[in-house]
């Protein structure tokens, strides 16, 4: 009976709805009288049945949620969908009744019945009354581990307590004991010294450092070495390079002409300094994202914003500048979320995230933080630079005045020659003059105004070789005006409105959005209105943030073990891998915050752990059980990064110039590389002198034709954030180490050192080996090297003239030629060993 009444009622409703469509002015009031629709009874069930699985608290497809009036009336990414009082203007109705040609709802589900549609229409036409719930909308929820708050877990108890050096080890050992696996023994002392030197500074220990370490027999010798390395300025270089990977640092624009960025390095310097000073990570982040917005921002704090100036630029003729401005802002959103959240926001540029609880609307809310920025290059002098510049500027100005005087003098001469010139002018010549000149000549000289005379003078000046040359000289002089170092920075510009971009297309703006943060993450409490980048930065380093501390300790951990506790360092979402040691990850994250976000303390904690100090020898018995060494029953052998391979060859051979910071350098590269770029715009002007031997992180990175050795050894392409480098192994790498000019020069210099050293052959070979690999050679290794040395001597003796070329400019004094050649041969082999390019 009840059903019948209901259906009758709805039949009536349908009629009424039809009537309302016919006469919109009177119908709604009549409808309200006849059958008032009750939201809870009539509409909510329809939403629940057809809509909420996609437009509810778990998912808000298209930015639309129909579970709360505040959100429902706001609408979706393309704007409101309910217009109270007018069902015909309501998109909600058009997409369910089939009148929208592009979109049918529910997507992939059973269509609404005519009755349900009629109810919706009637409800809207009656004013879409939706009783206000007591509570606000529920936040988007997720049970995924990575979005839960970080808790500080208790340190687990272990059986083998003697092995534990710090809490890291307790977490690792507890797991190993669970599996019944014993950890590996500690690596021998010299391997350990080499490992930690490479990890903390990217340079191998020198012979002196090795000797000093061996002499220190105290139990704290290793810790002392760690402290020495953390205090070395090379620590800043080493870890700056990791940060540069994340920040997609390069020295050129990227697209097409790929113009150089002469000031990009200034931000790199800032990173090196900040790390060496152990600037707390929260401050490190705030300054890079919003240094310009800090109260009384210093120049250095503004320089820090160069982090987000590493985006690509397209200066190609005929491009739409707005398109590439939007692309740069999109990249700033993506990079921010990759680096600090291990989250692939990229998906949300065009649509809601398929797997993770982030919406397209939220993407553009973050976009809004970066949408008002201007790119400005500001003067950012280095210490002492301005003082040094002052006399140079004065000299420049003096020369400029001299040029101006010469110009004026020549002009006066022309003025005096004017009468002569006019007198000698033939009719034919006169007729070829420009019209305005001819016009002036009509007036007799005596009655000409100064302006008229000036026309004639200008004409003469334009064809006067002396004057033209002087003018050119002046222009060139002005172009070469000495200037202080500049820095690429971001600055808050005029506020723009931000819209959701439909399908990510900058030409299709949708609903307007305000700056905001994803609902699934910790609360956002901005201090500014509208919220700005500084609010965003502070929200990112809020200790309540479940992601940033975890993501940060994880990628740092990865640099030490070749693999993160979460192996997918760039994906903490539901598609990423789960942490191998979740409690360890949380303990490290909480400890990082507890230690005032100190990176150096975090590094020290990791490298002094027993876990880190294990031998890296492969354990065949574990290959089946733990093929990726996720349980950390040993260290991992890691091939060195591109820059570090070159740094090591330079260091070992004594060529390395250890100056910290400064502009990028262009060491020799084979001909024909920069010619690959468009119109040769990336011309490679080789650096001279010491700049040829600087560390790899200073090599000019030209995006369309990067330095070949970097590319071959898997340096990132620097176009997007890179949190994990590949480690490939190719024949082209072998050819590079064998034959590239830089490595050959290293072999020559390295060989010369040992050729000139007095002493027994075997002793020298032993020390050369130790210089390259830190450890002592075994007896068979030493014999093998000795054989090689003698083989080279024999080869060289056959044709000493030809082999002399092999010494290059490194001919040792007072050494027989064949022996000198043999040392280069030995050096070249040492620099090519697998172990030489590996961190054991």
């Amino acid at each position: 009976m009840r059903m019948l009444v209901l259906s009758w009622l709805w039949g009536l409703g349908l009629l009424l709805a039809w009537a309302s469509a016919q006469s919109p002015k009177e119908a709604p009031s009549r409808a309200r009288e006849a059958s008032a629709i009750q939201f809870e009874r009539d509409i909510q069930p329809i939403f629940a049945k057809h809509c909420l699985s996609c437009h509810g608290p778990r998912k808000a497809k298209g930015g639309l949620r129909l579970d709360h009036p505040d959100l429902a009336f706001k609408g979706g990414n393309s704007g409101p969908v309910i217009v109270p009082g007018d069902s015909r203007k309501s998109r909600l109705i058009r997409v369910v009744d089939g009148s929208d040609p592009d979109l049918k709802m529910p997507e992939g589900g059973k269509p609404l019945s005519q009755e349900e549609i009629a109810k919706l229409r009637a409800w809207i036409d009656q004013g879409a009354h939706w009783p206000k719930p007591a509570a606000g909308p529920t936040a988007l929820r997720s049970d995924h581990w990575a979005y839960q708050p970080i808790r500080r877990p208790a340190i687990p108890a272990v059986k083998n307590t003697a092995w534990v050096r710090n809490p890291i080890d307790a977490f690792v050992l507890a797991r190993l004991e669970q599996e019944g696996i014993a950890p590996s023994p500690e690596a021998d002392r010299l391997t350990l010294l080499r490992r930690v030197s490479l990890d903390l500074t990217g340079l191998p220990p020198t012979l002196e450092e090795i000797e000093a370490f061996l002499r220190d027999s105290s139990s704290e010798a290793y810790e002392r070495a760690v402290d020495r390395l953390l205090n070395s300025p090379h620590y800043g270089e080493r870890w700056a390079r990791h940060w540069l990977d994340l920040a997609r640092y390069a020295d050129s624009d990227g697209y097409e002409k790929d113009l150089g960025r002469p000031w990009a390095w200034r931000w790199r310097n800032w990173v090196i300094d900040a790390l060496n000073q152990d600037k707390p990570f929260d401050q490190f982040v705030i300054e890079q994202l919003a240094g310009d917005l800090l109260p009384n921002a210093s120049i250095e704090q503004k320089v820090a914003t160069g982090f987000h100036r590493n985006t690509l630029t397209n200066r190609e003729g005929g491009v739409d500048q707005e398109q590439f401005r939007v692309e740069a802002v999109v990249d700033r959103v993506n990079t921010t979320f990759a680096v600090f959240f291990g989250t692939t926001m990229n998906c949300c540029q065009c649509h809601d995230h398929k797997y993770d609880p982030f919406t397209q609307r939220e993407f553009y809310q973050i976009f809004a933080f970066f949408n008002n920025d201007q790119e400005v290059d500001i003067p950012a002098p280095m210490p002492g630079e301005e003082e040094a510049l002052r006399p140079k500027l004065a000299a420049h100005e003096r020369q400029r005045q001299e040029l101006l005087q010469a110009l004026e003098k020549r002009r006066q001469e022309l003025r005096q020659q004017l009468g002569n010139w006019e007198a000698q002018l033939t009719d034919a010549a006169r007729s070829k003059l420009p019209a305005n000149v001819q016009a002036v000549l009509q007036t007799p000289p005596a009655s000409r105004t100064e302006a008229q005379t000036q026309v004639l003078l200008d004409h003469l000046a334009a064809s006067d070789a002396t004057l033209v040359a002087l003018n050119k000289k002046l222009q060139a002089h002005d172009r070469n005006k000495p200037t202080v170092t500049h820095a690429q920075t971001l600055r808050l510009g005029q506020l723009r409105k931000t819209h959701v971009l439909i399908r990510g297309d900058f030409l299709r703006p949708g609903a307007e959005v305000q700056p905001g943060t994803p609902a699934v993450l910790h609360p956002f409490q901005p201090k500014h209105n509208p919220p700005n980048r500084l609010d965003l930065a502070e929200w990112i380093v809020d200790p309540a943030n479940p992601l940033t501390p975890r993501v940060t300790v994880n990628w740092i951990w990865q640099r030490y073990f070749g693999r993160g506790i979460v192996p997918t360092v760039n994906d903490f979402g539901t598609q990423g891998e789960k942490p191998s040691h979740p409690e360890l990850l949380d303990w490290l994250a909480s400890e990082f915050i507890r230690q005032g976000w100190s990176l150096k303390k975090l590094h020290r904690l990791i490298v002094t752990s027993a876990t880190y100090r294990q031998s890296s020898a492969y354990r065949p018995e574990l290959e089946q059980r733990d093929p990726y060494n996720a349980l950390l029953a040993r260290q991992n052998r890691l091939r060195l990064e591109a820059e570090v391979i070159r740094d090591n060859a330079l260091a070992v051979s004594g060529l390395l110039v250890r100056r910290i910071g400064g502009p990028s350098v262009r060491p020799p590269q084979p001909p024909g590389i920069s010619e690959l770029t468009y119109a040769g715009s990336a011309r490679w002007v080789e650096s001279t002198g010491p700049d040829r031997y600087r560390r790899g992180l200073y090599i000019w990175f030209q995006r369309t034709s990067p330095y070949p050795t970097l590319v071959l050894f898997d340096a990132p392409d620097s176009n997007v954030c890179c949190m994990k480098r590949e480690r490939s192994n190719t024949p082209l790498q072998s050819l590079t180490l064998l034959n590239d000019v830089v490595f050959v020069e290293c072999a020559q210099a390295f060989g010369k050192q040992w050729a000139e050293r007095p002493g027994e052959l075997r002793d020298r070979l032993r020390l050369a080996f130790r210089t390259a690999l830190t450890r002592e050679p075994t007896a068979s290794e030493l014999s093998r090297l000795e054989t090689l040395w003698h083989e080279f001597v024999a080869e060289a003796e056959r044709d000493p003239k030809a082999s002399e070329v092999l010494l290059g400019q490194y001919r040792p004094a007072n050494v027989p030629l064949p022996q000198a050649v043999a040392w280069v041969g030995v050096a070249r082999v040492l620099l090519n060993l697998d172990e030489f390019i590996t961190r054991e």
């Binding site: 697209y255 097409e256 002409k257 790929d258 397209n314 190609e316 003729g317 005929g318 491009v319 692309e327 692939t344 990229n346 998906c347 997918t568 979402g573 598609q575 890296s616 020898a617 492969y618 065949p620 052998r637 084979p670 024909g672 690959l676 770029t677 468009y678 119109a679 040769g680 995006r703 369309t704 050894f713 898997d714 392409d717 176009n719 590949e726 190719t730 024949p731 082209l732 050819l735 590079t736 064998l738 034959n739 590239d740 068979s780 090297l785 090689l788 080279f792 080869e795 060289a796 044709d799 030809a802 082999s803 070329v805 092999l806 010494l807 070249r828 082999v829 090519n832 060993l833 697998d834």
Partner: protein, 494 residues
């Protein structure tokens, strides 16, 4: 002599006398045999040799690919897609409806007018394909060619357009087509890289991003064979290092690496040893590649190796570019014969905003003969059936003449992404057909629109891949060459 010729003489000499640079081939071969340096199983193990051959999703007809990329956007209206209507309407404005929502790089909409083409189009071959008089040599190959007149792209600036065509995305950082194929199939060549890039003349605006392996491992990146100095970067031993010394070096490296391998027990060390051995083989094989003594004079002449350009243009790369381009076409065949999976030939620039007739003539005279020779040469050697040849650029050119501010006359065309032409041949392609139609002005595609993703999907299909399943996980997402689009164009298939 051009640098190339100098180089040829020099490398041939060094090859024949087995001195200087690389190790002699024979010596090396026997050395490798004696030492059994690279065991068969190691060669086939992807962990040791990332280029180890492996099958696709299903047997594909194509085994190798030669991709001829003419950067800049050659004018389809003057080469492939005859539009008599343009000559009729020459000098008139386009209907407002066509240009209303269109963005141009340089054209000023208000005053732009239609530009006719002085080219003569005639029918060729059994299929009767119409081509312009700028392509007399290609005209003799039309029955092997599938001409597509209905390509379209969304990129209308060069660099994004090149990235889309070569990597499937307008953004930096994606792997190129060649990288995907070598990642998917490995390479049959044991002595050469699986993916080789040849360039002539000046560089493209995309630079190395056009053959980058993106987020795929570097092993799958295109390896540039250079046209000056050594063919492969760092191929030659340092000056003064004798063959004997190099042999001793190899042996010592292997022994010392093995010794340490005994302690560290890391399989990666075996992989390093294998990489060194491949490098040594490459040192011998690369110069051999450039030794043309076993090519007949007829073949060399067919490719136009001895032609010299008339110096009427410097845009296409200056003096010597005719020779370099012909050489690259011949080298492409030799690389394919040696099992190289993917060969890219790049030439810039075909970006004729002005002076189009003369510049296009210059470039066609350079490219037409060697490309036709390559097709014929592949065919007579029985290689065309398994070698896919593609002729590409990032977009075409407008039916409107370009009236950029500052131009004194209208003599060229602007970028046109909505409709342009490309062609394919061999490797499972059905030749002797034209796919797609454009409207009578050549403005829009009216039949069989083919997007870049569709082309990529079809190419992968020819090699035996389902384009939706050839993926690589990066930053939490499974990426593919065709991004989120692409469908196989069955009409193209033989």
């Amino acid at each position: 002599m051009t640098p190339w010729e100098e180089f040829l003489v020099q490398t041939r000499r060094s090859f024949l006398t087995s001195t200087a640079g690389g190790i002699g081939l024979l010596a090396l071969a026997s050395m490798l045999r004696e030492d059994r340096l690279l065991a068969e199983e190691a060669y086939l193990d992807r962990r040791i040799n990332p280029l180890a051959p492996r099958p696709g999703h299903f047997p594909g007809k194509a085994k190798n690919c030669i991709c001829i990329y003419l950067e800049g956007g050659p004018s389809q209206l003057d080469l492939f897609d005859p539009k008599p209507k343009l000559n009729e309407l020459h000098g008139q404005k386009l209907p407002e409806s066509l240009v209303k929502n269109v963005r141009f790089a340089f054209i000023q909409k208000d005053t732009a007018t239609i530009m006719g083409s002085p080219r003569k189009f005639t029918k060729h071959g059994q299929c009767g394909m119409e081509l312009s008089d700028y392509l007399p040599h290609l005209a003799t190959c039309v029955d092997d060619i599938c001409l597509v007149r209905s390509m379209w792209t969304e990129a209308f600036n060069h660099h994004p357009g090149q990235l889309l065509m070569n990597t499937g995305s307008t953004q930096f950082g994606r792997p190129s087509m060649g990288s995907w194929l070598v990642y998917g199939l490995g390479s049959e060549s044991r002595n050469l890289p699986g993916y080789v890039v040849l360039t002539a003349g000046r560089g493209t605006s995309g630079g190395t991003s056009n053959w980058s392996s993106g987020f795929l491992p570097t092993s799958y990146a295109g390896v540039l064979f250079r046209n000056q100095g050594e063919p492969v970067l760092n191929l030659n031993n340092p000056p003064g290092l004798t063959r004997g010394m190099q042999e001793k070096t190899i042996a010592a490296l292997r022994d010392l690496n093995q010794l340490h391998g005994g302690v560290a027990r890391d399989p990666e060390i075996q992989s390093r040893i294998a990489a060194y051995e491949l490098a040594f083989r490459m040192q011998a094989a690369a110069p051999e590649l450039l030794d043309f003594s076993n090519e007949t004079k007829e073949t060399l002449e067919m490719y136009g190796l001895f032609r010299n350009d008339d110096g009427t243009s410097s845009r296409g790369g200056g003096r010597g570019v005719y020779h370099s381009f012909a050489l690259n076409c011949l080298l492409a065949r030799r690389l394919v014969e040696r099992g190289v999976r993917f060969v890219s030939i790049f030439h810039a620039s075909w970006d004729h905003h002005s002076n189009l007739d003369k510049e296009l003539a210059f470039n066609c005279k350079m490219a037409d003969q060697p490309i036709a020779a390559l097709l014929k040469d592949l065919k007579r050697r029985g290689l065309l059936d398994s070698t896919l040849v593609i002729w590409l650029s990032e977009f075409g050119r407008t039916p409107l003449g370009e009236n950029r501010p500052g131009f004194t006359s209208v003599s060229g065309r602007d970028h046109h992404p909505f409709a342009f032409s490309i062609w394919l041949a061999g490797g499972g392609i059905k030749g002797g057909q034209v796919i797609g139609k454009t409207d009578e002005l050549g403005w829009n595609v009216v039949e069989d629109p083919i997007h870049v993703h569709d082309l990529h999907a079809t190419i992968l299909h020819l090699f035996g891949f389902d384009h939706t399943k050839l993926t690589y996980r990066f930053q939490g997402r499974d990426f593919r060459l065709t991004d989120i689009g692409g469908r196989v164009i069955t009409k193209m298939l033989a």
